[in-house]
Amino acid sequence: MDPVATPYFFYGLSAVAVLSAVGVIMRRNPVHSAIALIFTLLSLAGLYLMLYAPFVAGVQIILYVGGIVVLFLFVIMLINIERMQREYQFNKQWLVGLLAAAALGALFVAVYVKGQSIFPQHAVRFPEQLNTQQVGKMLYVDYLLPFEIASLLLLVAIVGAVVMAKKRI
């Protein structure tokens, strides 16, 4: 089937993503930030759908929104919000922040300028039905070793977090 009203959806979703991303860093209340993050992630999932990557979109929802943000909220809820709002946080390092932002912006511009020749104009159209199989084949056949290394890395991180958080195991 043909996609419906693609440009509108694209701009709408992008606007939501950007606005809520701004919300994530602008809100003083961490719970509001986390909720804004949910909207960013959901609109990203929508963008993935438009790129004919439904599997990635589904995983985005199930893992990031359903799992990770829930854990974020879980932790944030326990923090004393009033004390949090009074604290003056990273704002003093605005010079570093500015530099980092400028570098990132430059990177984006460079990719935009140079990328037009490097990347094809249109995304390669996989048959929609086979998307999941394609992802599976990539992960478990073509790039099995990097995939396993990445999961090992995650495991190390989890063990480290547990050791740090819990004094007595």
Partner: protein, 425 residues
């Protein structure tokens, strides 16, 4: 307009056919039907639970309390809407909406029949699990925004519970998805060994796979399918916060848990969402393991005669219900006080009978029977939910976590690996 009528002849879901008007119509029908089901469920739960507990349940509003859910809904709508002074107003306002929207969004991909779904997503089951897991966000938001201790504890419990049981649920679902791509019959030789093995996440294709393999996945690779189904059936109760896993709203510990501070319409949204979510997860279980819309024994008892026989079931069910209503009408006390109730119940019985008659008309009969078999299976799960509630005490938080992490998830992984092994060997 041609689109509109052409769709009826195509054997596709409206989403696949690209018939946008029909998509809207389907969504409206599903919304209305789910709301109606929640209302019916409300009445049935009270009645069934009451009869389990040697009491009558609602008897006053309408004959046998049939109008009680409507009276309750009205009461909730006109109740004062309270937002606590120190609540986070925005989040407090958003929470019930998030819960309701996520609960209803899952219905987009539920196949009530081969063509009776809004659309057939190729990541259907993934979408369902993902969106169903979003409901917990609303609960967390509600608990936090209330700025009160009981809701906070309730939402902490809820988030921990959902995150842990989602893993077990996912494991069980994956083993069912795996079965769509595996030939073979297992030790007990159930099903057809030569069927196509497709491998799919689409809800409709999963049911078709069960059709082609001549087996409901609950019976495939005999103990394995059943084990995965069992894990899912337990995890889905925990996922919907129902007894015996109703810790987020444990009324004897946390008064009302995460919705302690909610009242009136907002509270009723939580109620609606809870029941809608129950029906939704039961639909997943029915689709994955119990053959979705398939009627019993579509291969063994095949042929036109059997098809016709089974397609009479919906009408027959309505006739039985109508008979029950009319029998009660006749048995009502002959006192002027009961005149209106008697008339009401009689009309209700006739209405049910009328629906039964409509269901006998051949074109309607053929289109409706898929929905009927699906609904019957879901209804069995709903009855189980009520039964659990009437029978079990509540788990404690640490016991719930232990059950989830130390029993359900290892068993889920084990079943998944065993399924893969049996399928490959």
């Amino acid at each position: 307009m041609a689109d509109f009528s052409n769709y009826l002849n195509s054997n596709l879901t409206p989403g696949q056919a690209g018939a946008h008007l029909w998509v809207v119509i389907y969504i409206l029908i599903i919304f209305a039907a789910v709301s109606l089901a929640v209302i019916a469920m409300n009445w049935l739960e009270r009645k069934i639970l009451a009869h389990m507990q040697v009491r009558l349940g609602p008897m006053r509003v309408g004959p046998h309390g049939l109008l009680q859910p409507i009276a309750d809904a009205l009461k909730l709508l006109i109740k004062e809407d309270i937002i606590p002074e120190n609540a986070d107003k925005l989040v407090f306002w958003m929470a019930p909406l998030v819960v309701v929207i996520t609960a209803f969004t899952t219905y987009i991909v539920i196949p009530f029949g081969p063509t009776h779904a809004v659309t057939d997503m190729n990541i259907g089951i993934l979408f369902m699990l993902g969106v169903a897991s979003l409901g917990t966000l609303g609960i967390i938001m509600a608990g936090w925004a209330s700025n009160s201790h009981y809701p906070l504890l309730g939402s902490l419990r809820s988030s921990a519970q959902m995150v842990s049981y989602e893993v077990a649920m996912g494991m069980a679902a994956v083993s069912a998805i795996l079965m769509t791509s595996l030939r073979g019959t297992g030790v007990y030789g159930i099903g057809s060994p030569t069927a196509d093995a497709i491998g799919t996440l689409s809800m409709i294709e999963i049911v078709r796979a069960q059709m082609n393999q001549h087996v409901w996945f609950v019976f495939k690779f005999f103990p394995l399918g059943l084990a995965a189904f069992g894990i899912f059936a337990i995890a889905m109760v925990a996922e919907t916060n129902r007894a015996p896993f109703d810790l987020p709203e444990a009324e004897s510990e946390l008064t009302a848990g995460f919705h302690t501070e909610y009242s009136g319409f907002r509270w009723s949204l939580f109620f609606l969402a809870e029941y809608a979510a129950m029906i939704a997860v039961s639909s997943i279980a029915v689709t994955l393991w119990l053959g979705g819309w398939l009627r019993p024994f579509p291969h063994w008892l095949s042929g036109d005669a059997w098809d016709t026989a089974f397609s009479i079931f919906p009408a027959f069910t309505f006739f039985v219900l109508a008979g029950m209503a009319l029998r009660t009408t006749v048995r009502m006390p002959k006192h002027p006080y009961f005149k209106i109730q008697k008339a009401g119940l009689g009309v209700f019985g006739l209405l049910l009978g009328g629906i039964g008659l409509v269901l006998l008309v051949p074109p309607v009969r053929d289109r409706v029977q898929d929905i009927y078999w699906f609904a019957i299976k879901v209804a069995a799960f709903m009855y189980l939910y009520i039964w659990y509630r009437g029978t079990f005490p509540r788990y404690r938080f640490d016991q719930l976590m232990r059950l989830g992490w130390k029993f359900m998830i290892p068993t889920g992984i084990g079943v998944l690996i065993a399924t893969a092994l049996v399928g490959v060997l």
